[in-house]
Subunit: 316 residues, 2 copies
């Protein structure tokens, strides 16, 4: 059942021993929401702790700071930024079917919780948490401000993406007034790369090739590159964005080796091509501007196959 | 003489045939301020035009749109975002000593104009223009909002830098409400690279080397690379930032070939090294975290010389 913010605030005010769940492969929004809510509940004198199936990424460890959690049998379970129980991961699996309250901004939320506070217009779940804490009369400390800013910054690409609304900026303004260390946070989140990632970028740029009067750009990521650089498949999101960043490129293709003779293709496109329809030709799918598919064969066969299909598609 | 915003608004309201000057090598803030002010004056029924010694960068041409300027003998000259007449460039040189009003946010403004509206606390001159237009009862159209957003976004690295204040975000919120196309603008300003720049990055990454347990990272940019890729020296700013982005790197060095056996070095450092003091050893200077100097010799001699001096400096 959907409930509104005032009702949600009332639930949290009356409950104690609260377990907060974050989604697997955690990002800044689920962790910022989780820790922001935790520090708020602690300020209210309640016991709470944050649980996630995967560890906090090193660059976001400041969200937790030196906080340690006491163990207690939870009496109220809240999920933050989780659209579906499929995103629980192993550690959270005991709580399937057992979430009392979900706080989320994904329009696709599957309503798995007893009660759900959903605001699909919010750029980040941290925006919802911000207003919720105001309703609960929590004072926004620097620590809470750091958490909420992190979720907003990561989910909006630091205020760049289409999901930004005026409220996003107004919340950021008040978080800065609460002392959030936005410069340090942004530097850490957006201006720093591991040595392995830099080396991977170097290797990947050496595979960059152009076709169709530079309208198509292709890069390759092999298993050997991942082994050599220690970069995990989960960190490859930024890499797939490289080809389409080049001015004039209408279709950017990233060919990732998954296993011998198995390649996962990621296609980013301009309005000239519906990437989702294109990938459907190969049994894949996705969105109009970003989609993917899997093709089997040697790298040179796969490259040839995708290129000729793309040239065909662009010629219409 | 310094004047306040209300006085500035009064000046602009009483004047007509206004010439607006932008600084040479124009950035988003000087151009956004110039065009934003121009469109506002036009809305008020006044004649105005924008003048700059250098052309608008291609990625910011949307600021001007299809606007063409009529020629008229200026009766009032306003400079925007110009700290000193040294930044006029050739085309603006007839107006040295002839600026009636300067609107600026640089604390270093040399007070070259008859009257100056200076707010050194503003992250961008466009923030000052925003409040000024409110004082002048100008309605913020989409076109004006695009201009002002551009200046704010470019001068703050899209809200990432230390100069951001709460007002920066609050202005951004109202500009979005006025219809500014922030997503398109941000994509163009921050997410796109020329083919030449991408190729230069590729070549530069291939020169990347690490020393002193990966605390020192060095990259090289040769004249041959610039010739091959068509990238100008002015566009190299982003390149110099690459080495220090790597986690663990304390000193990032960019060695740029200027002429045969002449290299300009750019040093970016953490708190472990005062880059300005270090560069002074080679007759250079700058800021504590970013400085530069020129060294003569072959590339390998220069690299050896700077590396041994850095290792010496880091060993203290």
């Amino acid at each position: 059942m959907r409930i509104n913010r005032k009702e949600t605030a009332a639930r949290l005010i009356e409950q104690d021993d609260i377990l907060i769940l974050c989604h697997r492969n955690p990002d800044g929004d689920t962790l910022g929401s989780g820790y922001g809510l935790h520090f708020a509940l602690k300020q209210m004198g309640k016991r709470s702790r944050v649980l996630c199936s995967d560890p906090i990424p090193a660059k976001m460890e400041y969200l937790r700071g030196t906080e340690t959690f006491s163990d207690f049998p939870p009496r109220f379970v809240v999920s933050v930024d989780i659209a579906d129980e499929q995103l629980f991961g192993d550690t959270l699996s005991p709580y399937r079917g057992g979430v009392d309250l979900a706080i989320d901004h994904h329009p696709s939320n599957s309503m798995f919780a007893q009660e759900t506070l959903l605001d699909a217009g919010a750029a980040a779940t941290c925006e919802i948490i911000y207003h919720l804490l105001s309703d609960m009369n929590v004072s926004i400390t620097q620590q809470i401000a750091d958490c909420l800013y992190t979720g907003i910054a990561t989910d909006t690409g630091c205020f760049k993406f289409a999901n930004v609304i005026p409220d996003t900026h107004r919340i950021a303004a008040t978080l800065i007034e609460s002392g959030c260390r936005f410069q340090k946070i942004n530097k850490q989140l957006f201006e720093s790369k591991t040595l392995g990632m830099m080396e991977l970028e170097r290797q990947v740029l050496n595979t960059l090739e152009f076709h169709a009067q530079n309208r198509i750009a292709i890069i390759c990521v092999t298993l050997k590159m991942l082994q050599e650089t220690g970069v995990s498949e989960a960190e490859l999101d930024g890499i797939s964005g490289i080809p389409r960043k080049i001015e004039g490129v209408q279709v950017g293709v990233t060919i990732k080796e998954r296993a011998q003779n198995e390649y996962k293709l990621s296609i980013r496109s301009s309005e000239l091509l519906d990437a989702s329809k294109f990938c459907a030709l190969f049994g894949g799918g996705g969105h109009a501007r970003a989609a993917g598919c899997t093709i089997y064969g040697t790298l040179s066969e796969v490259r040839k196959q995708i290129l000729s299909a793309l040239q065909e598609a662009l010629s219409h």
